[in-house]
Symmetry: D2
Subunit: 248 residues, 4 copies
């Protein structure tokens, strides 16, 4: 007997991965698989305590309204949440004690930890740069995760009252020193064979610290989703970002 889990969008590629992950976890029990067109009532009938929603911006608000009203918490990877939607979710939650909703843009636990550790380490090192590496079909450079990580480092440096990074470069080829994201150089490599990788490098006298995240396939979100499912009972209300579930 474990936490009773329902999966929304269960037949999709992401949904299938989550179904497998829940089935393999001995402390979780898969009680419902819901697909587009299915009635959500099956969740109540099955006694689901938590749902995982990787569906569509069109479907997710209806799903959340139903779940919250029925006392079911939700771990949400679906995109498209703006301030208005978040306010709506908070409003629904305000009428239901003990229900939790976790909405996160990134469930890859290694990427989330990289961001958290980078913020923690930032104020101890005068130098900080990011090198992210992805497959060559990626449309944007740098990756959103790398930009977000750089912003977190910049914020931590600012709070600590740190100076600009040391850099004596006088003569350079354009682009060699990377993109400047709030003072943090970010370099993007596009490489056949790679999937998604990010290295955050910090340096100070005589030493460096490197925090590197490698995603080897597209299912790297699953462990983070399970962290959400297991932790949601302790996080009632709306929480944005898996980092808030890590107890760090």
């Amino acid at each position: 007997m474990g936490i009773k889990v329902g999966v929304l969008g269960a037949k999709g590629r992401v949904g299938q991965t989550i179904v497998t992950a829940v089935n393999e976890a001995t402390d979780l029990e898969l009680v419902a698989e819901i697909n587009s067109g299915d009635s959500l009532d099956a969740l109540v009938a099955a006694g689901a305590e938590v749902v995982v929603d990787f569906t569509t911006p069109n479907a997710v608000m209806g799903n959340l309204e139903f779940c919250i009203q029925n006392g079911i918490s939700a771990v949400v990877g679906t995109t498209g949440f703006d301030e208005e939607r978040l306010a709506q979710v908070r409003s629904w939650l305000s009428e239901k004690d003990g229900v939790g909703v976790l909405i996160a843009p990134n469930f890859a636990i290694s990427a989330v930890l990289t961001m958290v550790f980078a913020k923690q380490a930032a104020r101890f090192f005068e130098s900080a740069e990011i090198v992210e590496l992805h497959h060559p079909n990626k449309l944007d450079a740098p990756s959103g995760t790398a930009i977000h990580t750089a912003q977190g480092i910049a914020q931590a440096r600012k709070e600590a009252g740190m100076d600009a990074q040391p850099d004596a470069t006088e003569q350079s080829l354009p682009g060699s020193r990377g993109a400047d994201v709030e003072g943090i150089p970010v370099h993007a490599v596009r490489m056949s064979g790679m999937v998604a990788h990010e290295a955050v490098i910090f340096g100070t006298q005589g030493q460096t610290l490197t925090i590197k995240q490698d995603s080897y396939d597209r299912n790297s979100f699953a462990p983070g989703v399970l962290v959400g499912v297991r932790g949601i009972a302790e996080h009632p209300g709306l929480v944005i970002g898996l980092e808030n579930y890590l107890g760090l």
Copy 2:
């Protein structure tokens, strides 16, 4: 005007590095350099608020007694502290409010952060291994830092109720899977040209997280000593380990 710092053992190799680091820090003021045979009274005359002690097991207890009694806090990298000595330091401190003593076995900030982050990350990954790399003149393998890091990971796994690591190895050459430190494999590389390096690798579905520390020379303790000097006013009493000063 900044924190007034005295350096004990100022002529030693380590002391010289600390003298330089204090002189270069705009928020610190070097007010006294004390060497073997010098009177400690100069510290009081100079108004030292904090001393840094990288001296000898023979000298350090006398230094600490004097400093504490004169209301001077101390950042200590000297070795040789057993429970008896720590109890003595606590006893002296109990009679002087507001004085702090930081005793740490390792001031390399990148190594300390590696240990802290490794403990934090451990429970999110079913696999964890350590590869440490040092110059070939090192006498012990694995390094004390790597063993300590492995123990921290093992402890975190135990607290989280985790199973043993997955490992289907059936056929192996002796030693290939490393040393077993409380269930965490630790591999030691000894390599000409290298100084001191440690990689902690974590893995779970579709992804890995690597926290890597590189020391490029023997002065990598200096930034951590300054973290101690700057933070000691907020840490009265006896503190063991720089990790307690990092606000993590």
Copy 3:
């Protein structure tokens, strides 16, 4: 118009990958897909110049006899070749000028290059160690590739008359210094999320050289197979090992 290629075992997982790779290569033309039970005559009818054989030890000898007799060269990844079989292949080839057969245990071009470069670099560095990292379902440790790489390094050191590696270790935990493969320490990491990775590290005064190979999925043999297909016209007779096709 390009080299006319036939694929044997075309419906298998490996065969499918090769079919796709040949189709995507503008200088190659896929003219035949043969599966178990199909007649090999289709190869002749289609004018195949080269076949790729990733079939079974049972099927491969018949395939080779047919191909050689019909003047078709073969790139072979099928296992199970002993001295007797190799002698038979040589015998068939001796009667057909200009036909080439390439048999290789490893077509991952990055792994093959790692082995070649490791052998070339070995005599310039007094220290050499290997760290290989694989998924935790692997049954053997170290990997065959890592052992083979270590043997190549050991051979190169012996030919250069080099001394044993420097290593002052006096006190060690069992296994920490890796497996000893002819004097080369080899460390095997088993890590959830990883696929197949190998780092060869060389060190000498003030510097190290690291040659690292990462396989991110099980299709990493395809580029090496194409190297074989493109190069076979220039390598008549029997060649063992893709490294002989690299022009190094």
Copy 4:
């Protein structure tokens, strides 16, 4: 008894390192240390077979003329050689059979091997990028070595008739994709604590190959100088670049 070596500029920082390296090598014999103002006749008197010249552009031509005329070979790290000077050295050498002169811009054996291997590997991978990392006091970006490495890769790709690298980037921050050196992206990281490091990354289907060079201190030229001293008897005449001594 070994090769008799004279060191020019023996009191300089570089000269001292070479003196130590020659003294520690059992197959080499240090027979003369020459400094500015000393007569070169001591080289002849001592029976020097090879000299190492890390002196100044002002001194080196006189040194070479003397050495060649006296049948002494020379390993030269001094800068300032233009075509005119090289022609002069060739002219002197043309009158003395069996004397060798090696002039090289870079004696760090790990850096030279990185360049050689990068050229060899280039045609097997559709993607190639370079990330170089140096201390923040460096004035130029990217490093000359990284630019030279990129040019070698570009040349090898051109000779193999390869297409441009795959890169679907549509939306990017300026600089994120690095400097474009003849089609090879080069990224320069400037990081406190680091010395000099270069990673060349190659990628193709399902795999990457990384060749990484780390210099940990400023003496990393010494092993390469000894390679030059030991090999010069087999390389009469003028040779530019240590890579020609590596037997690759």
